[in-house]
Amino acid sequence: MTAEPRLRSDRSAPVQPGAAPDRRLPGLPAFWIVLALLGAGGVRMTMIVTGYVREYPVALLTSAALFALLAVPFWFVVSELDFLEREPPSLLLIAFGWGGLVATSASIPASGALDDIIAKLGSPHLAADWGVALAGPTVEETAKALGVVAIVLIARHQINSVLDGVVYGATVGLGFQIIEDIVYAMGAVALAGQGDTVEPVVTTFLLRGFVSGVWSHTLFTALAGAGIGYLVVRGERSFRTRLGAAALALFAAWASHVLWNSPLLRDGLGNGAVALLAVLVLKGLPPLVLIWLLVRSAHDREADYYAEQLAKLDDAELITPAERRALKAGSRRASARAYARARGGWRARAAVRRLQRAQARLAVELSRGTPDLSRWSHEIRRQRRVLNRLGHPEAVAPDGKGPWRRTASAVFSTALALAVLWAVVSTLGGG
């Protein structure tokens, strides 16, 4: 007897059928409570920002522009993760707002208070060394994780997989990250005491954006979100097990944040650029690898689930086996688009993009048991006709064609990023 090949994704939590967006959200009490909290957070943050607008308008505008720009690659990654079963924009907006308005406005007074409590119960030395490492992560990870819980409360049916928890967690973290970075930059401007100047903003941007940009709130809260996603979707496990897994993920997010903020290795490796890069790797790599493995596993699980839905169709005009394989991974989807552009120009690329979107949507509707699939089937067939006319009937890149270009591009981008990082570290770290 030959055993069925075990998919890599089988190791992670299963996927539940995607639910249609619920238009009755306002019927739930949680919706109104979350809305009120968003309003309160909005008022609080507006009061803070108003002070900056009066005192440092140019610096504020510059920091808003720079950190919004920094959010683009994060947003791009989150969007790619969310490609198959897309989360409703309204919920993503609530998650983003929670991070940027609610979690930040709660964290500002709470982190300061906890830092003081550490000084009072321990000593000023303890607070100076470990206050930032303990107070920030404790308060911030809690406040951000509450944002994912809030999404569960107002739209439980939208959390169909661990990956959905990752997407909402990352979105909450992204909102928090942008606003926190702007507040930090404005604090640096005020401390510099040179009026409305942009130099402190640029320094903050280089430090928080390039040097420590990857180890960010987006990453930490994605991990916490994975745990909450597991708690919600893994219904066949006991509540105690699911709660334990969620607590473990929250602890891992907290511990990663503590490790990153901690004074460990601060003095042990010297002051040069090499030492700073070594610290980045030693303190940052373990959580980065952990989170990457977890997110990849959750993504693969969701991708396998929706690819299986499409396999049931057995209709090569709707999706071929090779396209099904390509649809499962962001890199292969991108390779298919790039290859289409090389063969049939931008129109072919756009058609492949629309075809992939329609195929993903069809998979979600199949999982929902939607009786009438004609809308998405028609869209796929229309894009297929466009591709046929352009002489590129199948939306895939042949093995060895697309990937090497993308690999070369990735290697080049990584080398460029490292060169920029090296220059920044040398400038700031005194290399």
Binding site: S107, A113, L114, D116, A127, L146, V149, A150, L153
Partner: protein, 191 residues
């Protein structure tokens, strides 16, 4: 479901949302309340130097108590806040690449950046018993007066700000001046 009847789902949902709001409230208001409930000051010896951070030390004035909320010693920088009766005596050490004039200008801007605060009088040159040379000036704010002194030593700025009601300042400033004169920069030998 009858009109106006609360379902079990809505009740669970309400309880969950209240739990989220309560946890958030605990962070936003509970932690600051706990912080306020704990005493912020601690006795500090006034007969020997106190290490502020960044290699700088000072002998606190008699009767001074350490305010734990604004005291953070560090290797490269540090801050200490003493409370001498109702008067605040804050010393901050930060890395700084610039002249004494630039350091004074920076602190002056920060003071006048506070609503209602302005710099008063003329600035004087001062020196510590250890030979640090600095600039001293005065400021006034709503219901308060103050004194600032700035020193620059070996890529570090030492900023001293003293503030309180005018009557208290007049009584306590001489002791604080004597304390400021004991400021000493003694960097750790490079290992």
């Amino acid at each position: 479901m009858g009109m106006g009847r609360v379902t079990r789902r809505q009740l669970t949902n309400l309880l969950g949302a209240c739990g989220v709001a309560a946890t958030l409230g605990g962070l936003t208001f509970g932690l600051p309340a706990l912080n306020h409930a704990l005493p912020a000051d601690r006795a500090v010896p006034t007969d020997r130097p106190y290490d502020i951070g960044g290699g700088v030390s000072v002998v606190p004035p008699p009767g001074a108590r350490l305010d734990l909320t604004d005291t953070r010693p560090g290797e490269e920088s540090g801050t200490v806040l003493f409370r001498v009766g109702p008067v605040r005596y804050l010393i901050s050490v930060q890395p700084f690449d610039g002249s004494l004039g630039a350091a004074v200008d920076r602190l002056r801007r920060r003071i006048t950046g506070n609503s209602g605060y302005q710099v008063t009088g003329t600035e004087l040159s001062v020196a510590t018993t250890d030979g640090l040379r600095g600039v001293q000036g005065g400021f006034s704010g709503p219901g308060r007066g103050g004194r600032y002194v700035v020193f620059v030593a070996d890529s570090r700025t030492i900023e001293v700000t003293v503030s309180g009601a005018d009557l208290d300042l007049g009584r306590i400033l001489p002791a604080i001046n004597r304390s400021t004169a004991t400021l000493r920069y003694a960097p750790e030998p490079a290992g």
